[in-house]
Symmetry: C2
Subunit: 340 residues, 2 copies
Amino acid sequence: MPVRQSAKRKNGAARMREVAELAGVSRMTVSRALNEPGKVKEELRQRVLEAVRELGYVHNHLARNLSSQRSNVVGLVLPSLENSIFAQTVKGISDHFRPRGFQLMLAEAADDPEDEERVISAFLAQRVGGLILHSTRHTPATLRMLKSTGIPVVETGDLPDNPIDMVASYSNYEAAKAMTQHLVRLGYRSIALASLANNPRARERQKGFADALAELGAPFSSERLIEVSRGIGGGAEAVSYLAQRLPDTDALFCAGDVLAIGALLECNRRNWSVPKRLAIASFDDVEIMRYVAPAMTCLKLPRYDIGRRSAEMLTARMQGAEIAVKHLNLGFEIMQRASA
Amino acid sequence: MPVRQSAKRKNGAARMREVAELAGVSRMTVSRALNEPGKVKEELRQRVLEAVRELGYVHNHLARNLSSQRSNVVGLVLPSLENSIFAQTVKGISDHFRPRGFQLMLAEAADDPEDEERVISAFLAQRVGGLILHSTRHTPATLRMLKSTGIPVVETGDLPDNPIDMVASYSNYEAAKAMTQHLVRLGYRSIALASLANNPRARERQKGFADALAELGAPFSSERLIEVSRGIGGGAEAVSYLAQRLPDTDALFCAGDVLAIGALLECNRRNWSVPKRLAIASFDDVEIMRYVAPAMTCLKLPRYDIGRRSAEMLTARMQGAEIAVKHLNLGFEIMQRASA
DNA sequence: CGCATTCTAGTTACCGGTAACGTATACGGG
DNA sequence: CCCGTATACGTTACCGGTAACTAGAATGCG
């Protein structure tokens, strides 16, 4: 006695062939009804959709992507999953992708190009259709892999000198330089920069800071580049360092929102009035910056837009379009508040 | 004149068949050399690996997953991508998955079950091998879909009454209740709770709060359940509300770290001493809680472990193991500090 | 009204792997 | 020495779709 096909399946998921049989059409018609509705007559399309509903059919994008040699999946590589700064970028990406049927694959590569290489290699194995890399430093092997697959890539996190493909970012160098110039214009004479070590973006910020001071003929020495540890404690370290080693410093520029909060709290603890005893400026405008007392002067970076625009460029290219402007400098803004 | 096979390919990626030819073995041997190294003689395995290197071959997991009817991809649904609270959970998941060759697909479903249904449906189309849902409220259609595919699912964010499959979480009800009892023990007599609206987890916290007060015979009325808007501003709203409507309140329990910070800043602005004029306790222990003045009394929730344990259970099940304990209550801790 | 063109749906082959089974060789024990 | 069992690799069929091509029907146009 023949067993009905559907009863044979270990896995409950219906296949397109069953939908086709139920609707009395060929598989190809089902495929078209789902992917290019305009190419199937309304009546048949309805029959197909009803069969889909009845069987609880779920389109198999694995098979679709394999067969069509395309992909609706995009890989995103972030330096850190814990830093809420990146959350806005992820949100921008996700907001763009969701209504368009793209999926986001996420991985972390802690500012280590070797790590990034492994992660990208895994993404390529999944045959992602595009990549967003929050990093501009890559191993030669990574560059080779990306070149040879030819998938669209957006780099962000900084404006690289030799982009792989597309870019959507602001310039860490320019932003740090602008804020430094701003502080000088405000009258501060002895400025220090606190930033994290081992981070290419932090290094660009240091360069921007140093160059701004040099151009303005303001006093500068490398001891004004303070490298501190991650987290709020790092901000406190910076202030303690100033108290001990550079007590004449009148402004501290923190290359990160968390550091700035840490510095502010440490000033409070020491009863240093901000900005009178020490002015503080921050690199990132998160919500709390507007609410602390004094409100924090900072750079406002286009975090959300970086995500949105990256996703836009990527989907355009994945759908075969050529992009007119491949390198987006999304700029920044200085939010002048009370802390400096 | 015959064209060499490799020259025909539009897409540069080498296929397994080419690796097989170069190594002088069958495709199957290549597949085994990559997936079950023990089943291939060392010499052949080396030949295969060399061919892989020479051709820059990247294993196609799309084809692998389709053919093997398995999947190395897990879907994660979060209520919000912007809330840094979830970042720790994502990190826990990612840390577990990465060394094991699993990939993470991410999507947002803003505490809306309909939204979640769409997202899950898209994940099923991608044939994810498992799901982690930061939510315990689902549509009937969602439950049907998940039941029929039978893939392993971990719910988190709260302890649900009728779990779909596995659970790894703490109890919002119990946590809120414990903190409320703690505040009462500390001597506070007139306590209010600030939380967000339209959020099932917030509702559980309200219940725990109300029940704790009821059991202790402490005064309670529903006007002590303050619903505020998201963000730091929400915390300020709560304090303003108390100032106007319930000035005798001596402790404010904030159902979220951001609200607590907002409340604290608003108290500073009003020159209300914390905890003397108003004690504040928070629901989540983020780094800043230890550093604000006064340091914030709060609940410490196992955010990272939720991610790690969820991923552990999922990978075990995806590899065919049966799980002894499917429902994990990961508990919480009260961090007694200075703000209450 | 006849023929070229467009539309619609079906057929065939293939995407790039793996499962299941088959076969030859090596091995071990009675 | 023979046979049962591993071991190591190959063969065949299939996973669930889509591209490219084909054929028949409908439509447009001079």
